[in-house]
């Protein structure tokens, strides 16, 4: 989906003064990564924000200028009706009670999850509280981050993924062997599975060169008795 990103004036110093940037994206992660990959200064800035070195944070607004909240980021899918245009806006906040702010900002901040993962395992489950570093902060974040609805959603997704994986038996991968095989391959064989469901697939950005499916190949050997099966490795020993 084509997404037009409007960049707030005070953030344009990270995008070479560009106010609008368009990219192809299917989710919010794509939008963030597109900005980070295209604008090195924004990448540096985003790193500072997400590891807690900078107090700054950012929020997205949708096409109708409604705040995109953490619920949307969890679903992480762009909606054709509302997300063809996205506004990147600075997030201004404050709190009289130290240490609670990051958990509060997490409802709208686009870098909140990155903050929590930077703070370690306790912080991961404490939402943004982890950036505060203390166990108390993590516990406070846990309470505010994991509402009953979110916990139910997580458990439900886990059960569904287990059911799906049990129904999809992974195909056997072709065995790797150097045993001699003499087989003519003058006809095209059917495509073979080389991976299994659930295997992570890397997503690439930028220009890519990708090889095609290997259809046919052979190794020609010379100078050996007719009844001997030569091993390719032996020829290079």
């Amino acid at each position: 989906m084509r997404v037009k990103i409007h960049i707030h004036k005070i953030l344009q110093k990270y995008t070479k003064g560009l106010a609008v940037y368009e990219c192809e994206a299917k989710d919010f992660t794509d939008v963030k990564n597109a900005l980070k990959n295209i604008f090195p200064k924004f990448n540096d800035y985003y790193s500072l924000v997400s590891n807690g070195s900078s107090g700054e944070n950012l929020a997205f607004l949708d096409k109708n200028k409604k705040v995109i909240t953490s619920n949307h980021y969890e679903i992480n899918t762009l909606n054709k009706n509302n997300h063809t245009e996205i506004y990147l806006i600075p997030l201004v906040y404050g709190s009289g009670k130290a240490g609670k702010m990051l958990a509060i900002v997490a409802i709208v901040a686009i870098a909140a999850f990155a903050i929590s993962s930077a703070g370690g395992l306790g912080a991961l489950f404490g939402g943004a509280g982890g950036a505060a570093g203390g166990a108390g902060g993590a516990a406070g974040g846990f309470a505010s981050f994991f509402t009953p609805q979110k916990l139910f959603g997580m458990v439900f997704r886990l059960i569904i993924s287990q059911i799906i994986s049990s129904l999809n038996k992974p195909p056997k991968k072709p065995a790797e062997t150097d045993a001699p095989v003499r087989k003519d391959n003058n006809i095209f064989e059917g495509l073979a599975n080389t991976t299994a469901p659930g295997t992570n697939v890397p997503i690439h950005y930028g220009q890519m060169r990708v090889s095609g499916q290997l259809i046919s190949g052979f190794v020609e050997t010379l100078n050996h008795p007719k009844d001997e099966d030569p091993r390719v490795g032996d020829r290079f020993a």
Binding site: H8, K9, I10, S54, G55, E56, A59, L61, K65, K66, V67, Y87, I89, P90, L91, V92, Y93, G94, S95, G96, K97, A98, G99, K100, M101, I104, V105, I107, V108, S144
Partner: protein, 122 residues
């Protein structure tokens, strides 16, 4: 009434009206106060300025005000200072008739603060 006095009065009224919640708003480059929505889930102890307001006043925002309800000496807290990381803006915190200005000074890479005075409106 001067622009400064009007600004103080508007901020003070908004803070009193939102008590016991924290209020927040934008101060334009003409030093007019625009009350905004506090979208924090815990508005009694924190504020998150509605980003929509920052978009609407993208070209004209001079600073951001928020209140510390019931605080006799509303100094900027540690989290207030963290949130003041955008050096393009000035920040004001206050309640009643006491207001402080704080801002990020890039020259010393630290937050400075002062009693909010008329001479700050430049």
């Amino acid at each position: 009434m001067t622009v400064y006095q009007k600004l103080l009065e508007d901020m003070s009224k908004h803070a009193a009206g939102e008590y016991p919640k924290e209020c927040c708003g934008i101060i334009t480059k003409d030093f007019e106060y625009v009350p905004c929505k506090n979208i924090s889930p815990k508005p009694k102890e924190s504020f998150v300025l509605d980003p929509v307001a920052l978009l609407d006043y993208e070209d004209t925002c001079w600073g951001v005000f928020h209140s510390h309800p019931g605080d006799e000496n509303p100094l900027p807290s540690e989290d207030d200072k963290k949130g003041a990381a955008f050096d393009e803006y000035k920040f004001i915190v206050g309640f009643g008739n006491k207001f402080y200005l704080y801002w990020l000074d890039r020259n010393i890479d630290a937050i400075r603060f002062d009693d909010f005075k008329e001479e700050h409106l430049i």
